[in-house]
């Protein structure tokens, strides 16, 4: 086969993915970026090159507050999810007999099988004043009156963590089972105790799995609209919620696009920060 034929064949194989990415990522992104520099005059969209929408991000307290709220929630969810998922993945990988591991993983991801929206509303009922959590604490005498759990940041974080622990468990488990058991044995042979083995051998080797899962959690969480909308009770607004408000009645696509670009910038920053450890092949 000639070199030219080979090159055409190569492009032919790549073309479908290239076209797909161009049509459904590159073009929409370019349109969105261009839109973020447009403006609304009255209710008319005017194309142009204005930084007005980005300036509004600095001027309007609720806009930059939304960015801070989104970051606070996302970082908390990511940290809590990692702390919960790691031991779970560890137990499944090293404590559960191999023949039961598939079943254990299946049980761990079982909540994925229900609708995301239904699951969020279910949490709303669980955390309600008359819900299971309050009723249990009342019955145990831990509280004398129901406490407010639903429609709070706590509820939003709980809903997110429930979802992302499953995702992180999978990525960390995939990383853990790739570790040759000899590494742990060698560390023990050299006199390391269990904690030292974990701290100096296991943790550094599983860092790519943790960071990969944490990055995915960050990306999905910061762009999510459903969970804060249902569970947060609008007691504070995240960036996706503010974007929806701009679109709903006023159709302010330029400001919504600017907000979306800022979100992408934050995600890009997260990627650059974590890229050293990111190993997508470990998923």
């Amino acid at each position: 086969m000639s070199r030219i034929q080979s090159r055409f064949q190569g492009w032919g194989l790549v073309a479908p993915a290239l076209l797909w990415t161009t049509a459904f990522f590159v073009v929409p992104f370019v349109v969105m970026a261009a839109m973020s520099f447009a403006s609304l005059e009255g209710r008319t969209l005017v194309w142009g090159f204005s930084f007005e929408n980005y300036a509004r991000l600095l001027e309007k307290a609720y806009l930059w507050r939304a960015i801070i709220v989104s970051l606070e929630i996302t970082l908390t969810v990511t940290a809590v999810s990692v702390l919960l998922a790691y031991p779970l993945a560890w137990i499944i990988a090293f404590r559960v007999p191999q023949r039961w591991q598939r079943l254990a993983l299946l049980l761990a991801i079982l909540p994925f099988w229900t609708s995301y929206v239904v699951r969020s509303y279910a949490w709303l009922l669980v955390l309600a004043r008359e819900g299971v959590v309050n009723q249990t604490m009342l019955a145990l005498g831990l509280i004398s009156d129901p406490i407010t759990l639903a429609n709070t940041r706590f509820a939003t974080i709980t809903g997110f963590v429930h979802f992302f622990v499953m995702l992180l468990t999978l990525t960390i488990y995939a990383n853990l089972i790739q570790l040759p058991p000899n590494y742990r044995r060698a560390a023990m042979d050299l006199g390391a105790n269990a904690f030292q083995t974990f701290r100096h051998v296991i943790l550094p080797l599983t860092l790519p799995g943790i960071v990969t899962g944490a990055f995915l959690t960050f990306v999905l969480c910061i762009g999510d609209y459903v969970t804060p909308q249902i569970l947060g009770g609008n007691t504070e607004l995240t960036v996706p919620q503010v974007i929806m408000v701009q679109l709903g009645r006023r159709a302010d696509f330029p400001l919504a696009s600017a907000l979306a670009i800022v979100l992408m910038g934050i995600v890009a920053l997260a990627y650059l920060t974590s890229s050293r450890w990111l190993r997508l092949d470990r998923i």
Binding site: V31, R43, A61, R129, G131, G233, N234, V245, L247, R249
Partner: protein, 350 residues
């Protein structure tokens, strides 16, 4: 050369698969109350057609969708009564065919020619209305307190209130509590209205959309929904009769939805027939009691079709008083709209 907007259109059409264009089909962009089969099926059977419905939330979203569609994709549009002029301005509504919706039997206050007519041309007709007022659990709060807006969001009910998540009616209620007419709201009133919103917000457990507000009231998470009304509690009435609504002494905000034919509709005659059906007594009764949300029919003749129980829930006999006490949604111009929305979002983020 393909422009950015064309590209968006192509992407939207590709994603949606494009709306059907068949002769025997009607494509309607609607609110969720029109998706009840009990409303649509009789029309489909009578005309041997299929009605394709697409729900939307927010006039902005509807106008963007229409702008990105091909001419003829849509036949009928249901739109917020105060936004008919926006739809006309955007060129998406066609003049209503003569006789498509006679309003002779309508409640006079909801004909609202000033909303549905632009430059002497009628583009839409009111099909349903109701009130953004106070919904509450009669077993948990003192009904007498619900007759005064200022006591509704007083400290007594701190943490037991949910606010309906739409700035126009809630700011309308806030204005009315301060003695400001909704039609007269101006930039100079926003500070005063903002003060009321802050009080409301400080005592509220949540700011909720339709489903979340219903869930909160039904599960006892809150006992009061500011901005609620018959549209919120009527569907729950049979199972939880303690969930009810009232119009306080300061009044309530009146919402109204209109229906019209889309400019360039593929089936304008069928669209006109659909509007005739929806605004006729039978269609009106079915629309008023839709499984998504209830509301008052614009056509008073629907009273001949509704059952007594249904009329009780809608407070049919009290409508003359309610209509007199209520004021229309605030209808701000574009600049004031931005100010009002900013104030609302600022309050939510407090």
């Amino acid at each position: 050369m393909m422009t950015g907007r064309n590209l968006i259109s192509v992407a939207v059409l590709a994603a949606s698969g494009g709306a059907a264009l068949a002769e025997g089909e009607l494509n309607a962009l609607v609110w969720c109350d029109h998706t009840d089969p009990a409303l649509i099926e009789p029309f489909e059977a009578a005309h041997d057609v299929k009605v394709n419905l697409r729900e939307y939330e927010g006039t902005g979203a509807a106008l963007a969708l229409l702008e990105q569609s091909r001419p003829g994709d849509w036949d009928v549009l249901v739109v917020d009564g105060i936004d008919v002029f926006r739809a006309v301005e955007a060129g998406v509504l066609a003049p209503l065919p003569e006789g498509a919706a006679p309003t002779g039997d309508f409640f006079p206050q909801v004909v609202m020619a000033e909303n549905n007519t632009v430059d002497g041309v009628t583009y839409a007709v009111t099909e349903k209305f109701g009130y953004n007022t106070i919904s509450y659990n009669a077993d948990k709060v003192d009904p007498a307190d619900m007759e005064d807006l200022t006591s509704v969001w007083a400290d007594k009910y701190k943490g037991r209130i949910s606010i309906y998540d739409y700035y126009l009616p809630v700011m309308g209620l806030a204005a009315m509590s301060e003695g400001i007419d909704t039609a007269a709201i101006g930039e100079g009133d926003l500070e005063q209205i903002g003060g009321v919103l802050s009080t409301m917000r400080a005592n509220a457990a949540s700011v909720a959309g339709v489903v979340a507000a219903q869930t909160a009231l039904a599960t006892g998470e809150v006992d009061i929904v500011v901005g609620g009304g018959e549209w919120l509690t009527a569907v729950l009435a049979s199972e939880q009769p303690e969930l009810t609504w009232t119009i306080p002494k300061q009044g309530a905000v009146r919402w109204a939805q209109s229906i019209g034919v889309v400019e360039g509709a593929n089936n304008p005659d069928l669209a006109a027939e659909f509007i005739k059906y929806i605004t006729g007594p039978e269609g009106q009764a079915r629309l008023a009691t839709s499984s998504c949300f209830w509301g008052m029919p614009a056509n008073a003749k629907a009273g001949d079709v509704l059952t007594d129980a249904q009329k009780d829930i809608l407070r049919w006999d009290q409508q003359p008083d309610y209509l007199a006490l209520s004021q229309l949604y605030p209808a701000p111009d574009a600049d004031l709209d931005i100010e009002m929305q900013d104030l609302w979002l600022d309050t939510l983020q407090q």
